[in-house]
Symmetry: C2
């Protein structure tokens, strides 16, 4: 019943994608059960030196029991599930690979009926295990110690990869004899390579019936940023379970490996800083500490908000039971039952042999939580941040700690929550200058899915608005080329611009589809499209010829709620509770407010788009609540054929009026790289909002207090303060 | 040569739209040359108590001479222009009304050739004066003391209103005998009214040949927020110059005035706060002070940026000569010659008599700077902000100070400028966790154009990105109605929802068109649309069926650069310097990155849309630089017929390739009101970005230093800190 010790835990962290060949050739390889890295804590503590004090050490004892029906599995519970499965008859001969293990949440009605202090409903785990090339779906009752349901998937996909799968694939590939020749042809040995294992997508019958991974290699000579140094044209297709190279292709021996110059992004005290003036230290300061509380590990309360926040190995960060207090009555009112990124689709735009398959579905293939490394204090999150660990499960069914994977902080960015300035007479000529500083609460995590870093923010405002932001940084996936200047490129032949000598930044998209189980003042909601329609005036009635009129369209079925955004046919998108009217007779609602966005334009019959058909509507789908419809690309996404997507479920065109509905929103990015993205990209962000619309009777922060000078902290510079 | 004293200056501030009837009936009325308000400074100092120390008092002496060719007219220069005009022969009999007076900027080539230390080019003023219903356009040479050019406009529009125009119109209207009966029919006297003077738009021949204003009245009984209490159906059309009511219409005597309950938005220490937990004090702290400098009043230098920042009575805030330092060579490189909001178009969506004309063009009709009140320290801008005054001109040609109208501050909002997290082997198993805190510089002003508050932010990032944000707050323009519940409204008849009893929030749009004179590495630039085109693959070449390919289209003429945004035909929009190639052969460029946006859908022949035809393209136009093409709606916008808009200029379809070009971007909002917008709206923001694209050879902040704990300030709570 003990969690892996720090020394044992480390290898799990080390095994994350991209897996580095080093481990396979070194005593660090956890498959050889060697230990190491005992100095890791010391290393992390070097940078930044004092900021890690808030990091909790991995618990030596099992955590306290769950306090909330939605709390993730504890260390003790994970051990118990493993123990139950170990003595489960079908697994006696061979213990399966545990591809995922997580809380099987109680029925929504049970959760909604539960109150703090009640005994929590019986705890269950949902396990996806792989045995003999079959995906086993099991629910295990922790109280009875029994496997309650056990089903073998008949669908097309495989479960999320484990780190062991990745290790196996890379190990298989790097042991393949022909690789040495490919390395040698480029003046390298296999020991100079870092190899990664992108998922293969799915492209027809040849790729069915077995789990495959593509393995690509890079030179790690002289740089930690091997992504910038591809061995272009080299692709190995590996059967993960049989540990066999199915196909070895190297068409790029004539393509130079891009150089290592300027690829290292690590801070070194001696680095030449950018040519700019010093920036004096600046910090968000809260000397009285944060205003939020986190009780029982997961229940966050702040200002007028309350929600359950938990790490998830697949979704990364899940918010549940999001409740806002009514500004006047103080009553707790439901906004959302559950919200999380359901899938992340990243198609690259290159048809070449080494590129066509790159159409990642990162949440379902690798896991956003599984790839969320510890956040860097003071740089990923501000000084006033609080950190939360994830307790996840490895392929052998053992728990491990993903430390500091979520941060939670209050933000003041210098903006006003509302303002009005005027001169008025009602008080005898007094100047009216009213403004209220905006303070928000941010819950953040950052997934490093190989080269790319995705930061997910849930930001809560006191006016009832929730802003969801995805920020992209990290490394481009670059393509080797013989060219070192665009003047050698004919007729826009390349799939993107040169971002460095011999390195093309290949165009690609990112689509993040969020599952938003809205429960506005209760589960039963209605989706209303408020369309702004141009009306032409009756001649002579007024001098105006046209105006826009809001027309409300209630979506009766799923088809009515498939929304494609258009600047020229604008609408607002409301989720309302038809049973809860404001005093003025407006239904209580929240609206989805899109921001900058992008749509997937791939052919609907193109395999990547088939599998990610949940991006066919840009931006919204609405489905009736269905316990099993959580993952927009399907429960088993890996090599899936697209037979279990949101698009498929929604073709039933179910009724959605005055029902418990789930809204799905897709945030998209087109990315045409440029030189500034080399060797690491400045952050690009996009967001959307969930905004109250006639939910409150009036501006809920009308009576908020302004900030006065005497409220603010008294600060002095640190003795040793330097430049940023 | 003295500026108006505080007592004289105050009336100008007090005269801003909306003008309140109080002044017309009280000794404060500046038209009666009464003085008052000597205690104003004391009043302002009451709130917040200690925060106004940075406010500069109005200068008793003329300011120091201008130091930069772009510096706005000084107090002394304004006096000198007035003196020159006073003795100018055509104005000897009658001194005209000075509708606007501003620096006539030297030719761009002169400015570009000027270096710090050089004598500044001869100073000239551009004056628009009104005399006998004619608009006189004059340039005055301050050195020679002569009127250099003098032209009488033959176009359709009138100049920007002065506060005296507004006073005259309101005074004329409230003196109109029938108003007493309209007030009495609603149980009020004229003394209970606040009247405002919206511009009339232009709707045909009846409205030509004279300057008119519409006057609307509200009850100010029991509230400073009279906007929420319209006398619906009452409209007075006033001839401003003849001081005559042309039309008096009152069709709303049966419509109740919405009540005053909950309309007051002022802070009172005894106010019941919203139902939420206390938020501990939070502040952006910079104990070593800001890192930027402002030299000679207007030249801002920060990190790698340098720009000229000045207040403008019409545009509000103008940034000029925006230069960024190359991250590697340190060389100063031009990005933009000039950027400012050129026009703000706000059409309301109601055809009724009292509403159809509401189609404001706030910059050209009222002035964004003229309506920019002092920012509220600690609430409009953070504690570390620096404030800048505007020196503007009143109708009599005298200068006045618009104090604290711009703030400038460094922002740290807790985000990362870039990040990557990984485990790597190149340093022997060291964990790689790199992130860099993002610090930016914000220049802000807020125009309170009557009911609405528009905050304009120019935010500069060290990675070369400029983010331009417009935030909306303030009051809705509400419409009185007999209804107090939506269940009384038939068939979606209303032009918006009830936001309070008897008050409809009328649907409306906001469009802010920015003038962006891009000079990327020099004046001559080319606009390139990088279109992402779906390519279908040749059967059998690869398993993929489709991908997106970037196709570059160089805009040869203006027609090629008229951009309507579409999610389904995506492009990037680059302004590149075809003569400056990166080492890789990519042209140096900046791209315009749209965010959330809205398009005007009014009929192109509808008068408001004719006049604001610059919003026909959503989002971009590109024009060749033309000194006279600054104002998208025309130089003289008031009652214009749309004969001098960006759309008209651009119909010439001029050549724009490798020329000095100006890019115009429109940021739009559709606003369907809701109860949360009552009685003052939570801030709504939208933005767009100017982002380097192959401008730098690589990520310009790659070598930036992370934040370390020892850099940060040491803070303690203030003794008296309270809730926010």
């Amino acid at each position: 019943m003990e969690i892996s010790s720090s020394a044992l835990r480390l290898p799990f962290l080390f095994l994350l994608v991209p897996l580095l060949l080093f481990f396979l050739l070194s005593p660090w390889n956890p498959l050889h059960n060697l230990s190491g890295g005992g100095d890791s804590a010391g290393r992390r503590a070097q940078f930044p030196p004092k900021s890690l004090t808030s990091i909790s050490p991995p618990p030596a004892e099992p955590r306290s029991p769950p306090r909330n029906p939605l709390d993730p599995l504890t260390v003790g519970e994970i051990h118990r599930v493993r123990s139950i499965l170990s003595s489960y008859q079908p697994f006696l001969r061979h213990f399966p690979s545990i591809q995922s293990m997580s809380l099987d949440e109680p029925d929504k009605s049970r959760v909604l009926g539960w109150k703090s202090g009640d005994p929590i409903p019986s705890r269950k785990a949902f396990v996806i295990a792989l045995l003999d090339n079959q995906s086993h779906l099991l629910t295990i009752d922790l109280d009875s110690g029994r496997v309650e349901t056990h089903e073998i998937s008949s669908g097309s996909g495989y479960p999320m990869l484990t780190m062991e799968d990745v290790v196996a694939a890379v190990q298989t590939a790097v042991s393949y004899p022909e690789l040495e020749a490919s390395a040698a042809a480029r003046g390298l040995s296999v020991a100079n390579l870092s190899c990664i294992s992108p998922s293969p997508g799915w492209f027809g019958p040849d790729e069915e019936g077995k789990r495959i991974l593509k393995v690509l290699c890079f030179s790690k000579q002289g740089t930690p940023n091997f992504y910038m140094r591809p061995l272009e044209g080299l692709v190995m297709t590996v059967d993960v379970d049989r540990r066999e190279v199915l196909q070895f292709s190297d068409t790029g021996k004539g393509i130079p490996i891009p150089g290592r110059a300027n690829t290292d992004y690590r801070f070194r005290p001696g680095n030449k800083p950018p040519e700019m003036e010093r920036i004096n230290p600046i910090s968000m300061e809260q000397p009285r500490g944060p205003s939020f509380t986190v009780t029982d590990g997961h229940l966050v309360k702040w200002a007028n908000w309350e929600f359950h926040l938990k790490p998830d190995q697949r979704a990364g960060l899940v918010v549940s039971r999001v409740v806002v207090r009514d500004s006047e009555t103080g009553a707790a009112r439901s906004v959302m039952y559950k919200g999380f990124p359901s899938e992340l689709f990243v198609p690259y735009m290159d048809a070449d042999e080494g590129w066509y398959f790159k159409s990642y579905m990162d949440a379902g293939e690798f896991g956003l939580g599984a790839t969320a490394m510890p956040l860097v204090p003071l740089n990923d999150c501000p000084r006033n941040a609080y950190y939360m660990d994830g307790i996840f499960v490895s392929a052998d069914g053992q728990p491990f700690v993903q430390s500091n994977m979520i941060c939670l902080f209050e933000r003041y960015a210098g903006d006003a929550a509302w303002r009005h300035s005027e001169l008025t007479v009602s008080s005898g000529g007094q100047e009216l200058r009213e403004a209220r500083a905006k303070v928000t609460l941010v819950a953040r995590m950052a997934a490093s899915v190989g080269n790319y870093d995705y930061t997910f923010d849930w930001e809560f405002q006191t006016d009832g608005l929730i802003k969801i932001t995805v920020s992209l940084s990290g490394m481009l996936m670059v393509k080797g080329t013989v060219h070192d200047n665009m003047n050698q490129v004919q007729n826009q032949d390349e799939m993107g611009p040169l971002v460095s000598e011999n390195a093309i930044g290949v165009v690609h998209d990112h689509f993040i589809t969020f599952h938003l189980d809205m429960d506005v003042d209760g589960p039963n909601n209605t989706f209303v499209k408020v369309n702004l329609v141009k009306e032409e005036n009756v001649e002579g009635k007024t001098p105006r010829k046209s105006y826009l009129k809001p027309k409300r369209h209630v979506a009766k079925t799923e088809d009515d709620a498939r929304i494609k955004l258009s600047l020229y046919d604008p609408s607002e998108f409301h989720v309302v509770n038809p049973s809860r009217m404001s005093r003025l007779g407006n239904p209580s609602g929240y609206k989805v407010v899109p921001g900058g966005n992008a749509a997937s334009l791939l052919d609907h019959s193109d395999p990547p788009q088939l599998r990610s058909a949940f991006t066919n509507n840009q931006v919204i789908w609405v489905t009736p609540y269905n316990r099993s419809e959580l993952w927009a690309g399907g429960l088993l996404v890996y090599q899936s054929h697209g037979d279990d997507t949101l698009d498929v479920w929604s073709q039933r065109n179910r009724e959605i009026e005055d029902r418990d509905v789930v809204l799905w929103y897709t945030l998209g990015f087109h990315h045409v790289p440029c030189q500034e993205d080399f060797p690491v990209m400045p952050t690009v962000a996009a967001s959307f909002q969930l905004k109250p619309v006639n939910f409150f009777e009036r501006n809920p922060i009308l009576t908020a207090r302004p900030v006065f000078e005497e409220d603010l902290p008294v600060c002095r510079p640190s003795e040793s303060a330097s430049i940023i």
